[in-house]
Amino acid sequence: MIAIRGLRKAFGGLRVLQGVDLDIGDGEVVALIGRSGCGKTTLLRCINFLEEYDAGEIRLDNTPLWYREAPGGGRQRVSEAEARRQRQQMGIVFQQYNLFPHMTVLDNVLLGPRFSQRVSAVEADHLGRRLLARVGLEGKMSAYPAQLSGGQQQRVAIARALAMRPKVLLLDEITSALDPELVGEVEDVIRSLLSERIMMVIVTHALRFAREVAHRIAYLSDGAIVELGSPAEVLDRPKDPSLKEFLRHVR
């Protein structure tokens, strides 16, 4: 499980995260929604330390991540090697340009297990094929990303993230850049993952989808979680005025 406490981050003078607290239980799916610039993507990127944060704590299964107590007080960033190790417990999928264009689909999926986790070639190969079958792309193993549609590329990206056997999957608007007819196949894959009880944090604009797969939805505004609850609570019975405004616009 993940525990986030008091997360703060500023880019120069701009305060993007102003004290975020969030708990994610084992197997829970949390959707992050909000206007552009509310900090939802930054929050996601802080979770796997693609962004450093100024204050606060992130714990995974009760172990603090990313920063250690410094000998003279205060905190100290963990070493690059340790950060890499910690990142392996999380998988992330971006909005686009996920896959490495010069490698086949299978090689893309195998890259992490082979070179970060030192899984043997044979085992990694089996793992890769299995995951690609899982996302419905076993026939495209030897294809190159450029030969795939956007939806197929995203599915491979999900397989690649899963190949690391992560404890949590971070999804940053993974369908936003897709043509509408391709969105469904990606959402199907996410739906199919629900049974695996893997933690997921999904940044999304697709409220309909969030309602369907998320256990809880967090609405962010100006760098803080302003409303948090079940999809029914947040989407149908919003309390915060800015959330009401936001929902009205999105309708």
Partner: protein, 219 residues
């Protein structure tokens, strides 16, 4: 029409030019990898050093750099003559140009690909070998070939510091025989073949790399 023996001399000169360029390209590429690494260093002072180096090398005419080195060599007690000075200058020059090409290549790797690699927890060596090097190679092939062609042309400048290569060979023959049009025409033809040849070669390599499936991503 063509003064006797001049064709052979010019051909020899062309071979020297090509060798100089080849040495400069190899040396320059190695230097450029080091420089490009400096360009992305975490230490601000190292990055600044890179920028100063590129600024000086690109802002000063090649001839001036060559003359500086040429006159500096005796002072450094290196009895090696104009060839070494010339090759060194070319390496310094092409090193800067290649470094900028590599730097541009690294910068054109889309951010999510960097972040995917980091998120997969790839150790630095694997990151370089499997991600950075292949991508940078494909992204930078056209400008790299361009610099190679520029290097062949730049070798002609070394004629002024008495490095015997194609241009100097041509000039010597002209001063002997006054067959200006013929000799310079032939010299131009030699350069043309070399430069155009490199360009075509580069395009062939580009096509082969592209065939292996890399055609840019379309999200």
């Amino acid at each position: 029409m063509i003064p006797p023996g001049s064709l052979a001399l010019l051909a020899q000169g062309a071979a020297v030019s090509l060798l100089l360029a080849a040495a400069a390209i190899v040396g320059g590429t190695v230097l450029a990898i080091v420089l490009a690494a400096a360009a992305f260093s975490r230490i601000a002072a190292v990055r600044a050093l890179y920028r100063v180096y590129v600024y000086i090398v690109r802002g000063t005419p090649l001839l001036v750099l060559a003359l500086l080195l040429f006159y500096a060599m005796p002072a450094l007690d290196l009895r090696t003559g104009p060839y070494i000075a010339g090759t060194l200058v070319l390496i310094i020059y092409t090193g800067a140009l290649f470094a900028e090409v590599f730097r541009g290549g690294v910068l054109s790797i889309p951010r999510p690909q960097w972040e995917s690699a980091r998120s997969l927890g790839l150790p630095p060596v694997a990151m370089f070998r499997k991600i950075v090097a292949p991508l940078v190679t494909r992204y930078t092939l056209p400008p790299y070939v361009n610099v190679c062609v520029m290097t062949v042309k730049a070798s002609s400048v070394l004629s002024i510091i008495s490095v015997w290569e194609l241009t100097l060979a041509a000039r010597e023959i002209i001063e002997r025989t006054f067959a200006v049009f013929t000799i310079l025409g032939l010299a131009a033809a030699f350069y043309f073949v070399m430069c155009f040849g490199i360009d075509r070669l580069g395009r062939r390599v580009e096509r082969r790399l592209a065939l292996r499936g890399f055609a840019g991503e379309r999200a």
